[in-house]
Symmetry: C2
Subunit: 266 residues, 2 copies
DNA sequence: CGTAGTATTGACACTCGTCAATTGGGGTGG
DNA sequence: CCACCCCAATTGACGAGTGTCAATACTACG
């Protein structure tokens, strides 16, 4: 009765070794948040090396944190070692708070830079700094929309559809922040991470990617994804052009690269 | 390649007949929000008959809506007719807005009563009515926490674990609003609805329930769930007592039956 | 040139979906 | 009051989708 369980499922595939960097770092390290060298000068900026945690579960994240550069991902661990990746973060995305009490980790996928926009209690934020509050709400709303979409995917779509759905989403998001080129976009993830994000096994992720490649839809290698047939891909994902994702786009409107820039520090 | 698809999957099982009330009502009706008879006197209260929609996708829900009595559920439709139930709502829960742009339906599971606490633009709400704004944020945060938990369930738990997880959650939520008795709680859903909520087929929901019954964990009949071994059930769900759900409980703290009562109309 | 992690692949097992038939209430009209 | 109907619940048989195990390439790095 262990469809997705296998004891040393993924993220802990070779229990004794030093694999699955992010997942392990989530528990084994002593120093909590992965801040090593702080910003050379600016105290509101922190540099986080890849594969270390930016936000640790249970730690009450204080203030508004955003990802300024690099890639990260939100994840949650189940008691038995299974891991689920909630979503990936690109520059401009909100790191914390997702919600005052949604407990999960956020880990750096690449070396990245995090900025703190406000500290301490946020309840008075709307009055003190309304543009920041508005940006915060946009960020949380966008996150919730993606979360909802992901729930539907996991509940009612098969492997290929889920993969297509994720790739379309990431293409659009990378386009929004201007790091996507014409036919491709950067996506620095391993198949293991993809598996944890899509609720699949590593092997099946591989099979699914191969299938999409053979269909001529996408190619994925060296941390980049080449999209050859966006039409077919969106169709597979169940998105009919003017569908959900465009709402997502519209919702994130007014944000060219970062909605946070004007809302800097107080 | 159609694991969860079968064309006339669920919620449309007999395409020609009048089955699947909620799902169909989501599309086929002309009059939008299912408000029939309004509140006998109070214009902020609306009575909604079972199996009609409270909130229709795309309709920009204006203001803050909460469920005052009865059961409802949030759902989303995929283009091909598949349906996914995002979550169930009990009295006291936030109906709208979940997020300014998360598009989905909310349908009444039983006859129920909905109250509007504020209308129009909510951006100034924090300043105008801070207790209501606080309640709204609690409501949205709780929703997000459950959404996140559900994502993990769908991605990384098998049928039995998902079912256990849902039942534990519903037990705790019904306890909070005081409609649960000692060993049982009301849960007016069909197995079809359960299937759509858990990302399973109707048949497999039936099998899963039978298995749980044979294990002596729960009994489900006549719209009620009898929990015989909450320990084992939580264990199955991957909750170790002081785990996530208790955080959920703590998060909803300060709410006995409804956090909205004091934040009534302006 | 080892060593380790990642990607691939094949073989096989198990979970879960699909199809189809049956049962058992709960209405409802005669 | 009974016959009928509709629908939820159940069950069995079978197949598709996905997970698991294990072995083999690839690549990068020291």
């Amino acid at each position: 009765m262990a469809q997705a369980r296998g004891e040393q499922f993924h993220s802990c595939r070779t229990p004794g070794s030093k694999s699955a960097p992010a997942a392990r770092s989530g528990r084994a390290r002593g120093p909590r948040a992965g801040g090593n060298g702080r910003g050379p000068e600016d105290p509101t900026v922190r540099h986080v090396p890849r594969f270390t945690d930016i936000v640790v579960e249970g730690e009450r994240s204080d203030g508004v944190l955003t990802l300024e550069a690099g890639w990260a991902f939100r994840y949650r661990l189940l008691g038995d070692g299974r891991r689920h990746i909630i979503d990936f973060l690109v520059p401009g995305d909100l790191v914390a708070p997702l919600s005052p009490m949604a407990s999960h980790f956020v880990a750096a996928l690449t070396d990245c830079t995090v900025r703190r926009h406000a500290s301490g209690d946020l309840s008075a934020l709307a009055i003190i700094d309304s543009p920041l509050a508005a940006a915060l709400q946009r960020g949380m709303a966008g996150e919730m929309t993606r979360l909802l979409e992901k729930t539907v995917s996991l509940g009612r779509r098969n492997a290929k559809e889920r993969m297509a759905s994720l790739l379309v989403e990431m293409l659009q998001r990378t386009q929004q922040v201007g790091v996507a080129s014409d036919g491709w976009f950067p996506f620095p993830v391993t198949q293991e991470l993809l598996a944890d994000a899509l609720g699949l096994s590593i092997v099946h992720v591989n099979r699914t990617l191969r299938s999409l490649r053979e269909d001529g839809l996408v190619d994925m290698a060296a941390g980049r994804v080449a999209v050859h047939d966006i039409e077919a891909l969106m169709d597979l994902a169940g998105l009919t052009g003017a569908d959900t994702l465009s709402e997502l786009t519209a919702a994130a409107d007014g944000r060219d690269v970062s909605p946070w820039q004007d809302a800097g520090r107080p």
